[in-house]
Chain length 336, copies 2
């Protein structure tokens, strides 16, 4: 077997605002050989996640930063191409945190074996991946939905938001999604079955949102921050729960903007909770079992926004941060 | 029995800022006679509560407003002076919501019978009254303190805050109080046994607060809002809980000010909860039983700020809203 060349994307400089080719650069390295207890994976897809943007800014309260010259982290799916590990064999499909590169090594730790007859590579990274688990943990643990309650989701056509809304539907909620543009709104109501969708780019956004939530909002699943959050905030019902999962609209800002007034927390007896997936990884099996059942019944699906080739990752990442993607952003690797 | 004259304080006009004699006026009315199933109470003390200020502003998200010409509501303690009720007899000591007046009628609904051999009239309105119950419900239900955790309380020498801190001590917390001025700080550490007290009027407040909470704040019991809240916010520890009980610093404002950035909610996985006592009145018996035990052991006490005569109520109320009181504000009625 001749030595294989691996390509990866590394952080060349820290972005201020949206990252571009000056911050994220392609580098060629030899593909590493597995030692005893390891296996070698040829990635088919890399999943792009907004949280990587925070880590590009350096260490923060959110977690450790990516060092300059270091590869960008990310979840991957691929085929085991060579194994010196007892449980993973050549040809197995595995999900790992392989990073933004073509090949990776794994010791099997936190690697998830996938049956490709049951789940596509895309769904393995999408519905069953960190986005889906994030949606499930956030909604069930912190949103605590009851049948008949109104669930409002921002970034609703995105990878987390679309799963939050669909799980809400399965649990009997009235589901309203906030997204950008008429095409995404139609996707939410017509394809996913949301009860209503509101376009945050439309001029009448605030009025339309209030009209879509006539009884107020019992659960607000917050993915974006900024003005969308403030509009949702004014509609919270008594005893409402706000689940804070992300604030993508504010990740590129260098300043930390104020939140809304705390008066409604008191007068409406709200609970505002934040969570990070890393504290809840022990719930992956529970989620995957339920998600597999919903997927097989056609009740849980995700749309993917695919860009081809590792070199397209930086542009696809910037497009996602700008909200121009439509569905979970994946980079497909051809390996020709 | 000759007809008795009753005096009460009514809302004459809506205040903007601190209320004064132009907003709150004394009125003489005949003392009402009890009908069958009612009893007549001669008040000994009226408790002043900041929430009355919100209701003076009119209807709000916080609750119904006080109509112009209507008496100001408030909790009272007193002696049954005439009864046509089977369970309440002449000479009984009762706590009721009698309002800012000398005499009231009660049907017994939500009236609490007090044994004056066990509890003073002051403690009946203070430690055992709504302030104490508010402290107990907020801390145990929403703060969920664990032994060894750091509990930070604002308005710590006030009626709610001082009880929050003392219950925290009984439950094994490291308790830090925020209050105004060296005298109140000394009261917290020397009389009540708080581990530390920080003066929010001192020039080095932010630095001193951080030094008093070296491991961060696990529970912040929030009574005031404004800049004190913002200083506490920056010290929250991972998985911290913020219990929002009041925002007295903002009650006189006509505008609703912004809250702090939501980033820490996400990065530190915080839970911010608001509550109103009226949703938790069913816990009064549980609290009173525990409080009586702590009182008898000398482990729960309250300081009172007493002003004499109904006519002093408006000035005492304004003094409390301005933070110039020291202890639970009570108006004592002489009945000579």
């Amino acid at each position: 077997m001749p030595a294989v060349e691996n390509h990866q994307i590394v952080l060349a400089s820290r972005p201020c605002g949206l990252p571009d080719a000056s911050h994220l650069q392609l580098r060629a390295t030899p593909a590493p050989e597995p030692r005893e207890g390891q296996f070698h994976i040829r990635h088919s897809y890399i999943g792009l996640s907004p949280s990587a943007r925070i880590r590009m800014g350096g260490d923060s309260a959110y977690g450790a930063g990516i060092a300059l010259g270091e590869m960008v982290p990310g979840q991957t799916v691929g085929i085991v191409s060579r194994s010196r590990h007892p449980q993973f064999r050549e040809g197995d499909t595995v999900v790992t945190n392989g990073g933004w590169q073509e090949y990776s090594l794994s010791s099997g730790k936190s690697a998830l074996l996938i049956d490709p007859a049951e789940v596509s590579h895309q769904d393995a990274l999408g519905v069953l991946g960190t986005s889906g688990l994030t949606a499930f943990v956030g909604l069930t643990t912190y949103g605590r939905p009851a049948s008949g309650e109104t669930l409002l989701v921002s970034a609703a056509s995105g990878s987390v938001g679309s799963i939050v809304g669909q799980i809400g539907l399965r649990l009997g909620c009235r589901v309203v999604g906030i997204t950008g543009g008429p095409e995404k709104c139609a996707y939410l109501t017509q394809t996913l079955g949301f009860h209503a969708a509101v376009d945050h780019r439309a001029g009448d956004f605030t009025t339309a949102l209030a009209a879509a939530c006539p009884g107020g909002v019992d659960i607000y699943f917050e993915n974006v921050g900024g003005t969308v959050r403030d509009a949702a905030w004014s509609l919270m019902a008594d005893f409402g729960r706000v689940v804070l999962c992300g604030m993508i609209a504010e990740y590129n800002d260098m300043t930390s903007s104020n939140g809304p007034s705390w008066f409604p927390i008191l007068s409406k007896r709200l609970v505002v909770s934040g969570f990070l997936l890393r504290d809840h990884l022990d719930r992956a099996q529970e989620y995957q079992a339920r998600a597999m059942e919903w997927i097989s019944q056609g009740q849980l699906r995700m749309r993917y926004d695919i860009s081809d080739g590792l070199a397209t990752a930086p542009a696809a990442f910037a497009r996602m941060l700008a909200g121009s993607n439509f569905g979970k952003s994946l980079v497909r690797l051809a390996h020709d």
